[in-house]
């Protein structure tokens, strides 16, 4: 007995006769039986697999967020009966100089965690990919990449404590090194000087963050056609021109992703501030998430703390959606250009 199977395209479940398009009036009995029904789309089956994730998303993200928003309209100490106060917490926020200061510090964090690491990561990735790789081999590149990525793997609590030792004013490694090389005049109270602490935390965050863009950009560079670089080199383009005209345009999608991720991470930053400075000295490094935390848990002003975190969440959501829209638009424009 010979069975002939015609191979269908994607989505064909094969084996039962030839593939027919939608609306086809097939001749076999089963198809006749289902003639009146809409054809089954693969999406229907996949929806089932999404269900646990969707439920978890609602239970862990959406419901607590809505509850938190509800609490933000109350005056509450975390136990007992919340007292409805409407928009009072939000009105208080608008006049709270500490809240606005924490948001200003957030912008500094965006510079330290998104802007600087993206720029430096780009240059480093291009240098590792296009220069170090050629001259020193891929193993050297792999080692260097791992070194840059290490701070991303370290728990921030560990990294923060080590940095606080390094930056300690008395007997800290940094000040000791400065003294040893004759630059004792440059010794500072890095985390204790209110004019300096924010910049110091920014420096630590640059160190923490730099590995992420680097790894993403290097992955992106893998898919750039090497012939582009070769052709440019033959035409006499130097390293900078190749970087500017080939590397940058080719990995634009990765740049969008990195900027978006890092900006959101910067707005949410908490651990580093908690471990390094606890928002001090004198509030000089306070950020919204830490401000919300202390208001919520230390001052037990749960309603007010919830209002801070609600505002922060809305800002992050708006930025994330705007970023995604920009990215989609840019990609569409690019694809249009290709066509």
């Amino acid at each position: 007995m010979t069975v002939t199977v015609e191979r269908g395209g994607p989505g064909d479940r094969g084996g039962r006769g030839s593939r027919r398009g939608p609306g086809s009036r097939g001749g076999d009995v089963v198809e006749a039986h289902h003639r009146a029904k809409k054809p089954r789309r693969p999406r229907d089956s996949y929806a089932l697999f999404l269900l646990p994730g969707v439920l978890a998303f609602f239970a862990i993200i959406v419901v607590p967020f809505l509850m938190n928003t509800g609490v933000s309209f109350t005056e509450w100490q975390g136990v007992g009966t919340p007292k409805w106060t409407g928009l009072a917490n939000y009105r208080e926020l608008m006049d709270d100089s500490e809240f606005w200061a924490s948001f200003r510090h957030s912008l500094f964090m965006v510079v330290a965690m998104a802007a600087v690491p993206t720029v430096v990561g780009l240059v480093l990735a291009a240098a590792l990919f296009d220069f170090v790789g050629k001259h020193f081999g891929s193993r050297t590149v792999a080692v260097l990449r791992a070194c840059f990525y290490l701070p991303q793997v370290l728990p921030i609590a560990v990294a923060g404590i080590v940095w606080s030792w390094i930056l300690a004013p008395e007997n800290g490694s940094l000040n000791e090194v400065l003294k040893a090389i004759g630059l004792g005049g440059l010794q500072q109270d890095w985390l204790g000087d209110p004019d300096l602490a924010l910049y110091t935390v920014m420096g630590v965050m640059v160190w923490v963050q730099i590995g992420f863009p680097l790894v993403v950009f290097m992955a992106g560079l893998q898919r750039v056609d090497p012939q582009l670089y070769e052709a440019a080199e033959l035409d006499g383009a130097g390293w900078w021109r190749r970087f500017w005209h080939i590397t940058l345009p080719q990995i634009r999608p990765e740049i969008y992703v990195v900027l978006l991720w890092c900006t959101i991470a910067a707005l949410k930053v908490f651990g580093a501030v908690y471990v390094l400075t606890k928002g001090g000295p004198g509030g000089a490094t306070n950020v919204p998430s830490y401000f919300s935390f202390t208001t919520f848990f230390e001052k037990t002003q749960v309603g007010y703390g919830a209002a801070i975190s609600t505002v922060l969440t809305v800002i992050i959501l708006v930025l994330a959606l705007a970023g995604l829209k920009l990215q989609t638009r840019a990609e569409d424009a690019e694809q249009g250009g290709v066509r």
Binding site: D44, A47, L48, P52, P169, W190, G280, P281, F297, K299
Partner: protein, 432 residues
């Protein structure tokens, strides 16, 4: 047919995933049983601390005297309990007995919310009130507004704590300085260290140490009424009175003179303690909670004395045993507290670097511990426990840290410092 099957599958998947989700959200649903066979106990003391050692022995003693009853001990972190206690106590997961922080903003707050059991009948029945001196019991009683010092008993402390001057005998000897007996001798000693290029006082601007120096300076010009007004709201405190002004101005002056490093704003209590342990700082003014650690870790010869020229110093009864309102085995919890108040456990606590509240003085054999307890008794006799500066208002700790940091860096003046502290105090205090 197929459609029906698909709907059934979808419904089943939804039910299964919801069940799993709820199970995962619910966490440990074992909230202890009320069968009288389990005592669910939480505390956050390190196993090698005086309390850790004493309470471990208390658990053994409890199981010996309660055959068939198992103590289910869960070690928690201080932060963990501090941050989540209100939510936990409001749930079915509350333990039968737990250690909790004393003060208006903590135990007082929970008692006001009706989350703690009123222990008053047990206190009278078991005679715990007879074992606790007036200064120590202040933090055990809270009124209807959650203010300590009077009202019902909501917690029982096993130990006390107080602050003292720890000094490095080796360094004092090296520079020919005698142990200071008066405040002038203390400042003269600090001048001598500054002349030698040594910062005399270990400090931690990022945590409690700095604000405690300032509060102690203010206390040296204060009396019990001043403390009661600030801590217990018995009258309105004047933040620009002689005591507060002296405290803030002297502290700022000490930074200028180099007694306290102007680079200590970012340092933590741990840094200050380690600087003393390593012999880098000749003096640390801090609490008895360091005592056991210094005994265990310090390589230098050190001693202690009470802050000279002051009747009052920071201190209080220790953290409290509290029985959550929803505890299922309250009688077992009371029995356990009773064991921790027994001579045997109190003596053990005293011989391990703690300050017991009901020990037999003759049973304390360790010479250093004898000195520690003798100094506490001196304080208790003169009613010198003045609590802590951050107690009156929830969130006040952060305000004091932040404002004291500004005082160290010179970015605020003493008068402005007192204004800021007053403003936060007034905002936070719900005046009786």
């Amino acid at each position: 047919m197929l459609t029906a099957r698909r709907h059934v599958m979808a419904a089943a998947a939804a039910v299964v995933s919801t069940t799993l989700l709820l199970a995962s959200c619910g966490g440990d649903s074992d909230s202890g049983s009320s069968d009288g066979k389990t005592l669910k106990l939480w505390h956050y003391e390190a196993p090698n601390s005086a309390m850790g050692v004493a309470w471990k022995e208390a658990i053994k003693e409890f199981e010996r005297t309660h055959p068939g009853v198992q103590v289910k001990f869960e070690e928690k972190g201080f932060e963990q309990i501090q941050k989540t206690a209100p939510m936990v106590l409001n749930s079915n997961d509350a333990p039968d007995l737990m250690e909790y922080n004393k003060g208006n903003a903590t135990a007082g707050h929970l008692s006001q919310q009706g989350l703690l059991t009123d222990l008053s009948p047990e206190v009278t029945k078991r005679g715990w009130d007879k074992k606790l001196s007036a200064g120590v019991r202040t933090t055990s009683q809270y009124d209807a507004k959650g203010v300590m010092g009077s009202g019902k008993w909501y917690g029982i402390p096993n130990y006390a704590e107080y602050t003292m001057v720890f000094y490095n005998k080796d360094l004092f000897k090296k520079y020919g300085i005698a142990e200071p007996k008066t405040f002038d001798e203390l400042t003269a000693a600090m001048d001598r260290f500054v002349d030698e290029g040594i910062t005399p006082l270990a400090n931690a601007g990022a945590e409690y140490v700095a604000q405690q120096y300032l509060y102690q300076l203010a206390l040296s010009k204060a009396d019990r009424a001043w403390v009661d007004s600030y801590e217990l709201y018995k009258g309105k405190p004047d933040f620009h009175d002689a005591a507060w002004t002296y405290g803030a101005e002297t502290f700022a002056d000490w930074v200028k003179k180099g007694y306290i490093s102007e680079k200590s704003t970012g340092t933590k209590a741990e840094d200050a303690g380690v600087a003393f342990i390593q012999g880098k700082s000749p003096i640390l003014f801090s609490g008895s909670w360091w005592y056991g650690r210094f005994v265990a870790e310090s390589k230098v010869d050190w001693g202690t004395f009470l802050w000279p020229g002051s009747n009052m110093t920071l201190g209080s009864g220790g953290n409290l045993w509290v029985v959550p309102k929803g505890a299922k085995n309250k009688d077992l919890a009371y029995d356990f507290i009773d064991i921790t108040m027994s001579k045997k456990i109190q003596n053990l606590l005293g011989n391990n670097g703690g300050v017991p509240v009901a020990a037999d003085p003759a049973a304390i054999t360790d010479p250093r511990s004898k000195g520690l307890i003798a100094n506490f008794n001196t304080l208790a006799e003169r009613d010198g426990l003045a609590f802590y500066p951050d107690w009156p208002v929830a969130g006040f700790y952060d305000v004091l840290v932040s404002e004291t940091q500004k005082l160290i860096t010179g970015s605020t003046k003493p008068d402005a410092y007192l204004d800021a502290v007053e403003s936060a105090y007034d905002k936070g205090v719900q005046a009786p």
